[in-house]
């Protein structure tokens, strides 16, 4: 099977798993739960195989251009972590593995109904967008052994934060009774921002695809101002939709066996895993920048946003551990943290410029 067949298989599996998880929540039959987990694992394996096949393809390409490379070096240089498409696929892969670990440790499947649709829809989105799926050889700046360490660590961190976002958002929804309450309005704005980022990225990718400059660099497309005005309008429509229909999610959650305490606990644990990983991601990035450009820190937008994210989660940890904040307050901080993650990962490339131009649109 080719890697794109395997990707499609995993997309279908994640969407099927979503249906299975939802029916598990409705019927509460253990058998259905096992099926849901099984399908997710199947999708995960298919996605893993797809990544491996892609890796192998780019290994062959690398060896064609540089036949005298050692096996290990060629494997490391052909890791499929080079462009936005590959990084998004890997992001989803890390999210699923972190979810599976949590399901195993907590023996609770409720979160699956949340995570699998995100994974399935995002993969489908990526497939349909005009994003380049070419296997492109590695640009000189990315030819470093730090690439794999930096990306792997950062993405496991992002995956952990994604889980904390899901649980914190569920927490806020469960605690909200009234549309007019600040926390409902708040999560409507943040959830809309999350959806908006995905939508606008796909729109920009398909309508204004990146062009290759004469010296071989991929230059992001430049949409006109009207694109951004339309984008802003779309954002407010999304906010309105989430605001209007968000509370009905609560009815769905009634099926969930999750208490706000358990959600709070998972949120904290996920951040406790994500924070050291984020720190390591920043550190490996700094060391890499130092060996490539001679500056471990240059305040470029990507670096700065990763630091802002770090500050937000540091705030979460200090307010919770030292000030004893719990519940709604820390859930809000966790939401801000994840919006900051999404901005670091996608927003910077989408809206701002910087050294990290490879991974973005």
């Amino acid at each position: 099977m080719s890697s794109s067949d395997l990707f499609n298989l995993s997309t279908f599996a994640y969407i099927a798993a979503m249906i299975a998880y939802l029916s598990y929540l409705v019927f509460r039959k253990n058998g259905i739960g096992l099926v849901a987990t099984g399908i997710t694992i199947l999708g995960f394996l298919a996605q893993t195989a797809a990544i491996v096949v892609r890796w192998q393809e780019s290994y062959i390409q690398w060896m064609r251009f540089s036949p005298d490379t050692s096996f290990l070096l060629a494997v490391s240089r052909s890791a499929p972590l080079r462009n936005l498409y590959e990084s998004l696929v890997f992001f989803i892969w890390s999210m699923i593995i972190i979810y599976l670990i949590i399901e195993f440790v907590y023996k609770n499947r409720s979160l699956g109904a949340f995570v699998t649709p995100i994974a399935g829809l995002a993969l489908a989105f990526i497939e349909m967008s005009g994003m380049s799926k070419d296997i492109s050889p590695l640009v000189p700046a990315l030819q470093s052994n730090w690439l794999i360490a930096h990306v792997l660590i950062s993405f496991f961190g992002y995956g952990a934060f994604a889980v904390s976002y899901a649980t914190a958002n569920m927490h806020l929804i469960l605690e909200t009774d009234d549309k007019k309450s600040p926390s409902h309005i708040f999560w409507a704005f943040t959830f809309a921002a999350f959806l908006w980022c995905l939508l606008i990225m796909m729109a920009k990718m398909s309508m204004y695809p990146p062009v290759i400059s004469p010296d071989g660099r991929e230059v992001p497309g430049t949409p006109p101002a009207s694109f951004w005005f339309a984008g802003a309008a779309v954002y407010f429509v999304l906010v309105g939709l989430v605001y209007r229909f968000g509370l009905s999610l609560k009815k769905v959650f009634r099926f969930f066996a999750l208490s706000t305490d358990v959600l709070d606990d998972i949120t904290y644990k996920a951040i406790a895993v994500g924070f050291p990983l984020l720190s390591l991601g920043i550190i490996t990035g700094a060391i890499w920048a130092d060996s490539a450009w001679g500056t471990y820190w240059s305040w470029d937008p990507k670096e700065t946003w990763s630091l802002i994210t770090w500050f937000v989660y540091a705030l979460y940890l200090h307010s919770r551990l030292m000030r004893g904040w719990k519940g709604r307050k820390t859930a809000v901080l966790s939401l801000i943290g994840f919006i900051s993650v999404i901005f670091t990962y996608l927003g910077v490339n989408l809206l701002l410029s910087g050294l990290h131009s490879y991974g973005g649109g």
């Binding site: 064609r64 251009f65 540089s66 492109s136 050889p137 640009v139 000189p140 700046a141 030819q143 470093s144 290759i212 004469p214 010296d215 071989g216 101002a225 406790a272 895993v273 924070f275 050291p276 720190s279 390591l280 550190i283 700094a286 060391i287 890499w288 130092d290 060996s291 490539a292 450009w293 001679g294 500056t295 471990y296 820190w297 305040w299 937008p301 700065t304 946003w305 630091l307 802002i308 500050f311 937000v312 540091a314 705030l315 200090h318 307010s319 030292m322 000030r323 910077v348 701002l352 410029s353």
Partner: protein
């Protein structure tokens, strides 16, 4: 924070800087203000940021907004007085807050364990009560062994009525993890300050064949003497296969001390040259702005010569080694390609992506072979008649290599801080100070056991470990009895 009347001013200042509230305010302030510098491009110059500002406030207001932002330091905000003040306050807060808490934590780390009264034991977070059919002394011995095998220190004390208590702890130093994280941030700060004060960051554009004893500081443009000379022998961009996608930017540099070559190295992105604390990074390249004549470098393989290198100038005939043929470079293109429709040759970019030379050949003044273009990218175009191959390798002396030059005597501290932080974060989040007390009471033929345990973090996972220890205690006590 409650301020008491009898507090002295230094006390109150200390309390202020030791407070978590201040930490939360400072972290939030740093996070929020940092956003500004990611939207306004830093050190980008007037033109660029005026454009950005116009989209937000309109063209008429943009100059005024620029003036205001410039006065606020937004154009170079991470080095502005107020951002540096925020960072200093953050460092001060971090230091005082840690010093303030350290004595208490140190006591928790170093205090020896003492046996607990039964009622205190019953109030601990983790409690297990069970009985085994084995004598108390044996149970006591087994308990000590189990604790030890799980990495606990262990002590025993006797109580009245034949009861005894075995207790142990581990991971007490993990309580310090978070303070090491704090210290590592300060170490990184110190490293950055040392680098800023005693180091420099500059650039140098070196044309092929030229050398320099100075570099130019970023921002100010000031000359900084190196104390030695650095020379660029060769610059080259390699491309992937037949494409224009760069695979490698590389330069061969030489270091000269008193006219003597002491070091020579090929540098590339991610692989710099280091000499006497100064590091040279491959950062850019380009054509030399004032056009000057360089050398065309060929490799000739003929019936009379194998792989001989020839350096030639434009319009100056040279003899192909091992033959009696004179060759002349009559034209050069940095990037020559064929128009698909018309079939005509044209130069598609000024950067040296696909260089080619147009050759003419004569023997005794008579034109021989076929005149035409030889491409660097396509060595087969250099296959001439009569078994002569003339490979075009390089147009030397027409490009410069752009070097980033850095001296940073503080960078090792930054690396030390980063290493410490990585280890300490792991300790702080995934290790905890764990304590176990086991009260052993003989009860006729049985022995009753009350176990109490605590962990200052991650209690859930510790409880699982305790369950395992309990089953080991039961198994080993009763198993030893049979």
């Amino acid at each position: 924070m409650t301020t008491q009347k009898n507090q002295s001013l230094p006390d109150r200042i200390w309390k202020f800087f030791a407070s978590v509230t201040l930490a939360i305010i400072l972290i939030a302030a740093l996070a929020l203000t940092s956003i500004v510098g990611t939207i306004i491009e830093q050190n980008a110059g007037y033109e660029k940021n005026i454009k950005v500002l116009s989209t937000f406030v309109g063209e008429s207001l943009a100059p005024a907004a620029y003036k205001l932002f410039d006065a606020l330091g937004f154009m170079n905000m991470y080095h502005s007085w107020w951002f540096l003040t925020l960072l200093s306050l953050f460092a001060l807060n971090l230091t005082i807050c840690s010093i303030d808490r350290l004595p208490r934590i140190w006591k928790l780390v170093t205090d020896p364990m003492i046996p607990l009264k039964e009622n205190v034991l019953r109030n601990l977070g983790i409690r297990k009560e069970f009985a085994v059919s084995a004598p108390a002394e044996q149970v006591q011995e087994v308990t000590q062994k189990v604790l030890k095998s799980h990495g606990f220190t262990s002590g025993t004390s006797q109580e009245d009525e034949g009861a005894s208590q075995v207790y142990g702890q581990k991971g007490s130093y993990s309580r310090l993890g978070v303070y090491v994280v704090h210290a590592s941030i300060l170490i990184i700060f110190v490293g950055a300050i040392i680098g800023g004060m005693f180091g420099f960051k500059g650039g140098l554009n070196l044309p092929e064949g030229e050398s320099s004893e100075v570099v130019y500081q970023y921002g100010s443009g000031n000359q900084i003497p190196l104390g030695f000379a650095v020379k660029c022998n060769w610059y080259e961009t390699e491309f992937y296969g037949g494409s224009d996608q760069p695979k490698l930017f590389k330069s061969e540099l030489s270091v000269f001390e008193n006219g003597q070559e002491v070091l020579r190295k090929w540098i590339r992105v991610n692989d710099p040259l280091v000499y006497k604390g100064v590091t040279f990074y491959q950062s850019s390249y380009g054509p030399i702005s004032s056009p000057r004549e360089g050398f065309f470098v060929f490799t000739a393989t003929t019936p009379g010569a194998t792989g001989e290198t020839v350096w030639a100038r434009k319009n100056q005939p040279f003899q192909i080694p091992g033959t009696d043929i004179q060759a002349t470079v009559v034209d050069f293109s940095p990037a020559l390609t064929t128009n698909r429709q018309s079939g005509q040759l044209f130069t598609y970019t000024s950067s040296m992506n696909n260089p080619a030379v147009k050759m003419q050949f004569t023997r005794n003044g008579e034109p021989v072979l076929k005149p035409g273009w030889i491409w660097k990218r396509y060595p087969q175009t250099g296959k001439l008649a009569e078994g002569i191959t003339l490979e075009f390798n390089h147009y030397w002396g027409a490009q410069f290599t752009g070097l980033q030059v850095r001296k940073d005597p503080g960078v090792w501290l930054v690396y030390l801080g980063c290493t410490l932080m990585s280890i300490a974060l792991f300790v702080a989040f995934f290790m905890s100070h764990k304590k176990v007390w086991v009260r052993v009471v003989p009860d006729r033929k049985q022995t009753k056991i009350l176990l109490g345990a605590s962990a200052h973090k991650n209690r859930h996972s510790f409880e699982k470990a305790v369950d395992k220890m309990v089953s080991e205690m039961i198994g080993k006590s009763e198993g030893g009895n049979q």
